[in-house]
Amino acid sequence: MIRNSLRRWWDWRLSIFLMGIALGAGWFVRHTQGGPIMQIYQLIASPFEVNALAQEQLLSARTEELQARVQEVEMKNQKLQELLGFVSSQKKKGIVTPIIGRSADRWWNQVTLGRGSKDGILAGFVVMAPGGLVGRVTSVSPNTSRVLLVSDPTSRVGAGVTRSANMGFVKGKSKKNAVVEFFDNSPNIKVGDVVTTSSFSQLFPSGLPVGRIVSVDLNKGPAPEAILEFFAPINSLEWVVVYPHKVLEDKLPNLPKSDKTMNGNDKKDEEKKGETSVPK
């Protein structure tokens, strides 16, 4: 008799208790940006991890020769900048990380890396791959980090065409392409131009290659647009290199020759409006 009544007392109270626990667990995961889940995932995925360091060393000898030449040119560039009085930034050492997972839904272009805060990765770090820019770290857990790819429609990268120094920003469009919106109404751009991150970009250091222009539309309103194809093969990446980058809160953009654009707005305001910060 007592057992029956005890069971009946527990029946619906237990289900409410379990629902409460489930809701609490769901809220906890949402609040911590999936930290515990990604830790468990990394534990399970670690035997299948690609040996990122070994893969990087397998780069061909030709690539190493080109890298050595680029390093020499960069050093000369740095010395010249020092002569002109610019503050030179040190060449940062990157953390080679394997990609252990892709996005957990079908709308956000993200990847999950197999290294986290224990290896020194923090939110805001820049992610590069052989080829060019891949994205930016948005959240970290002790052993994993989440990267927002440049191909995501919410990603905005302040960039410019290397050849003609026309500035704009790169908005992700699909997995391989992005849209570049320029500030000038008649920019000097053509198909085949290389686009790199510009010095007014607050979220990325300048000079990182992003992609190549494949089509130009100068008549598009409100600003001329171009379609860009990423250098880095984002869909087939298996490892990336994460570079430290501190997002400076009050970094001033390089002031252009005139302070106003053709629309009559301040160029600084227009450039600052272009970039959005990391989604919470």
């Binding site: 057992r3 029956n4 069971r7 237990l14 289900s15 379990l18 629902m19 489930a22 809701l23 667990a25 769901g26 809220w27 995961v29 949402r30 609040h31 911590t32 940006q33 999936g34 889940i37 990604m38 468990i40 995932y41 399970i44 995925a45 252990i100 997972g101 892709r102 996005s103 957990a104 839904d105 079908r106 709308w107 956000w108 993200q110 999950t112 429609p153 919410t154 469009k173 699909s174 997995k175 869909n235 959005t276 989604p279 919470k280």
Partner: protein
């Protein structure tokens, strides 16, 4: 006159809770993977949606229970991607609809509970619905190009529907026979 052993029934309840939690965890951990053969055009199955549909058809749950299942898994998916726009709306809608479909007895109950093809078809329809809700949310979010959203939605809704319904049986077979 049947004499039920209260202790046996109690442990059966705990086993079903364990099966629920473990299967949900497996579905959550499968989300970031893209195992070759388990993806179509780079899009993997919507494991959480599959889990919600299977859980809602298995037993006679109330509408509130279906909604809470969708809410919990939606929050977990939010934590793994981005809280805005939220995934809870689409999964809650799926949970509530599946429970009401079962209650309205549009299909015979045994068919809904055990037949893998019915469950797969249900997942197909719910996947398309869930992607449409997400596309609407992205449109209201304000940042994206509307044409791009709906162009992408066509591809994603169909692909996700196909691959999710194909892989439903992998989760449905053990769960309908076990839990």
């Amino acid at each position: 006159m049947s004499y039920r052993l209260p202790r046996l029934r109690f442990s059966h309840q705990w086993i079903s809770i364990l099966v629920t939690v473990v299967s949900a965890l497996v579905c959550i951990l499968l989300l970031p993977t893209r195992i070759p053969g388990m993806e179509l055009l780079g899009i993997g199955p919507n494991w959480l949606l599959i889990w919600v549909v299977i859980w809602c058809v298995k037993r006679d749950h109330t509408l509130v229970q279906g909604a809470i299942a969708g809410l919990v898994l939606g929050m977990i998916q939010d934590g793994m991607t981005n809280p805005e726009p939220t995934h809870t709306l689409s999964l809650v809608l799926v949970g509530v609809l599946t429970v009401s479909l079962r209650k309205l007895k549009l299909f015979p109950e045994e068919l809904m509970e055990k037949d893998l093809i019915t469950i797969s078809l249900l997942v197909f329809g719910m996947a398309i619905l869930s992607e449409t809700v997400m596309a609407l949310q992205f449109q209201l979010y304000g940042d994206h190009d509307i044409n791009d959203i709906w162009l992408y939605h066509q591809q994603v809704a169909l692909t996700s529907g196909i691959i999710s319904s194909l892989w439903t049986s992998a989760i449905a077979f053990p769960l309908t026979r076990l839990g």
